[in-house]
């Protein structure tokens, strides 16, 4: 493992549970990580339970919340993801496993695929192609822009701001179409391989038109008191165990793009975006400014991605080994730890950002009022599809 080393004790920032292990920013340990704890119920005269989900209009995916309240305030909450998928990748070649990995969570498909491929390349000790690494950054940043637009659209929709909601949906669709033009598939399926990215980046500069329009909507939202009031002081979370935009909204400089040299982010002028508010508004700000930062990196990449049709040959030095890689998905750290033998996957463990973010959400939601719940929920950008996965 060239990106990580085994350690007896955790060092640095704790990221979360990966299979039976605990992942930190530079080491992996056999320590047990903290689990989602089911909090003891609050019971006194006048309290009652309220069930939200598993299938409801406001929820995009299937999850059930058991909420204890005495009228308006959320006193206690438990979450139960309702769609648990068993996905078997062991015994498969990396190519066959990849078909399943890229379908764990379509909105974060690139983050999953690239983290998995980087781990496989690590395990097989493959020399990486620099142009491929640049292309992978381009795809990750496109995915980030699409996802952040979607999260902000969900926030404006929750606030019943129809004009910005539909403008944002328009921009999401335009981003999907641009991705479709570049890669032939709107969610990057069938695009990534070892040392190969099956996309043509000639039209990548068109992302500027989308981000230019977004900036106008973003500026408008920053002056909309009725929108901001729903987000400020809602779901405050200052937690060293948080990741992604939730951590950066609390002023914590947690970002895999900054911490690791797996992908050459530093060479394309990556700048971390942070806020101080630590609430849903802070998370909204981080996502908004990250869209702008990502577009700057993409424009930088249009100049340095030279080869649009490459398929680099690769040579695997090992056909047995273990690899671990982490990338910064739109909602935070995403990592794969894989073992291979005779070119086949013998074990694969996933650390999904939504799993960590669900824990953070549960901490932040207690004490808020029920009408604020949806804003807080959407601000974390959680996908149940990647939480409810048992990789076998």
């Amino acid at each position: 493992m060239k990106y990580y080393k085994w350690s007896d004790k955790g060092e640095g920032r704790k990221i979360g549970k990966i299979g039976n292990y605990c992942l930190y920013d530079k080491v992996i340990t056999e320590e047990s990580c903290e689990e989602i704890n089911i909090s003891p119920d609050v019971k006194y005269y006048g309290t009652f339970k309220f069930v939200y989900g598993p299938s409801a209009g406001g929820l995009l995916e299937s999850i059930k919340f058991d909420i204890t309240t005495d009228g308006e305030r959320i006193l206690n909450i438990n979450s139960i993801p309702y769609k648990i998928r068993k996905i078997k990748v062991t015994g498969l070649s990396w190519e066959d496993a990849l078909l399943k990995i890229e379908r764990i969570n379509a909105p974060f498909s690139i983050s999953h695929t690239i983290a998995f491929l980087l781990a496989i390349e690590d395990a097989m000790n493959i020399e990486q192609d620099y142009q491929t690494q640049l292309k992978r950054i381009a795809l990750l940043e496109l995915e980030r822009i699409r996802n952040h637009l979607f999260v902000i659209a969900r926030l404006t929709e929750t606030a019943s701001l129809s004009v910005p909601t539909f403008h944002l949906l328009y921009l999401i669709e335009e981003t999907n179409r641009l991705i479709g033009k570049l890669c032939g598939h709107r969610y990057f399926f069938g695009v990534n391989y070892i040392n190969k990215v099956n996309c043509n980046f000639e039209k990548l500069f068109k992302i500027l038109d989308i981000v230019k329009e977004f900036r106008l909507i973003f500026e408008g939202l920053l002056e909309s008191r009725i929108f901001i009031d729903r987000l400020q002081q809602n779901g405050i979370l200052r937690d060293r165990d948080s990741i992604g935009p939730a951590a950066r909204a609390a002023g914590l400089g947690y970002d895999a793009r900054l911490e690791l040299n797996i992908l050459p982010y530093k060479e394309i002028g990556f700048k971390i975006v942070k806020a101080e508010d630590a609430d849903a508004f802070g998370r909204f700000l981080v996502r908004g400014y990250e869209i702008i930062e990502s577009s700057k990196m993409l424009i930088e990449l249009t100049d340095i991605i030279k080869d649009n049709t490459n398929t680099k040959e690769y040579k695997a030095i090992n056909d047995e080994g273990e690899g671990l890689a982490r990338v910064e998905s739109p909602s935070g750290d995403l990592a794969y730890y894989v073992k291979i033998k005779e070119g086949r996957v013998t074990s694969a463990q996933l650390l999904s950002p939504s799993y960590v973010n669900l824990k953070s959400f549960m901490k932040s939601v207690k004490g808020t009022i029920f009408t604020d719940f949806q804003f807080n929920w959407e601000s974390f950008g959680i996908w149940i599809s990647e939480i409810g996965v048992n990789l076998e």
Binding site: A106, P164, Y170
Partner: protein, 203 residues
């Protein structure tokens, strides 16, 4: 001026499209010749079976997409829903792709409401239930309850290859469906086309 959303909306003009454009090729009909090793057996005896295809490109270059997005299978129409067609989406175990694409048929480019198609937050107000993803254990009862809560007449729409045939990840949804919308995930044009057809409407 920044917060005069209404004026901003008017200034933007009409964004809704009369004819489809910029369709991602790997969500459309696949044609070709030859024997290929398809992981979901979507190509058998040289014939492409849309319900099984996950658009993984393993068959390329023997088989190629032809940009025809009208790949849905309509087994029955219900003209009663011609002017107003309310849909209740339910996620049985999807990867999130179908959820996103279904949401996007409400974007200005497609504007499903011009065809009298709407989402509803409860199965009690729904004309059709749209099921996405593979079947997962806990969702079996939820799907059954939602289906039983719908008033008659009602339709079942299976959205995406996972729901129709299980795709590469699991089990199909065991409901008798009137509409099958293949794709991994289906293109919004394919979804909209199928929904218009099933209610007997015109594009």
């Amino acid at each position: 001026m920044k917060n005069w959303w209404f004026l901003r909306g008017v200034r933007k003009g009409i964004l809704t499209e009369k004819t489809p454009k910029d369709i991602a090729e790997w969500s459309t009909k696949i044609e070709g010749k030859g024997v290929v090793n398809c992981p979901t057996k979507a190509i058998e005896n040289g014939k492409w079976i849309a319900e099984r295809c996950i658009f993984c490109r393993r068959c390329y270059p023997n088989y190629k997409p032809n940009l025809n997005y009208e790949i849905s299978i309509i087994k029955g129409t219900q003209k009663l829903f011609k002017k107003s067609f309310f849909l209740y989406p339910i996620d049985a175990g999807s990867c999130g792709g179908c959820n996103m694409e279904l949401k996007l048929i409400s974007s200005p480019q497609y504007d499903m409401t011009r065809f009298g198609i709407f989402f509803t937050n409860t199965p009690r107000h729904a004309d059709a239930i749209i099921v996405m993803g593979t079947l997962t254990e806990k969702m079996k009862e939820v799907i059954k309850e939602a289906y039983n809560a719908m008033p008659e007449p009602k339709l079942v729409v299976l959205l995406g290859t996972c729901a129709i045939s299980g795709g590469i990840l699991g089990e199909a949804i065991p409901l008798e469906a009137q509409v099958l919308i293949p794709g991994c995930p289906p293109n919004p044009y394919t979804i909209l086309d199928a929904l218009i057809k099933v209610k007997g409407g015109k594009k």
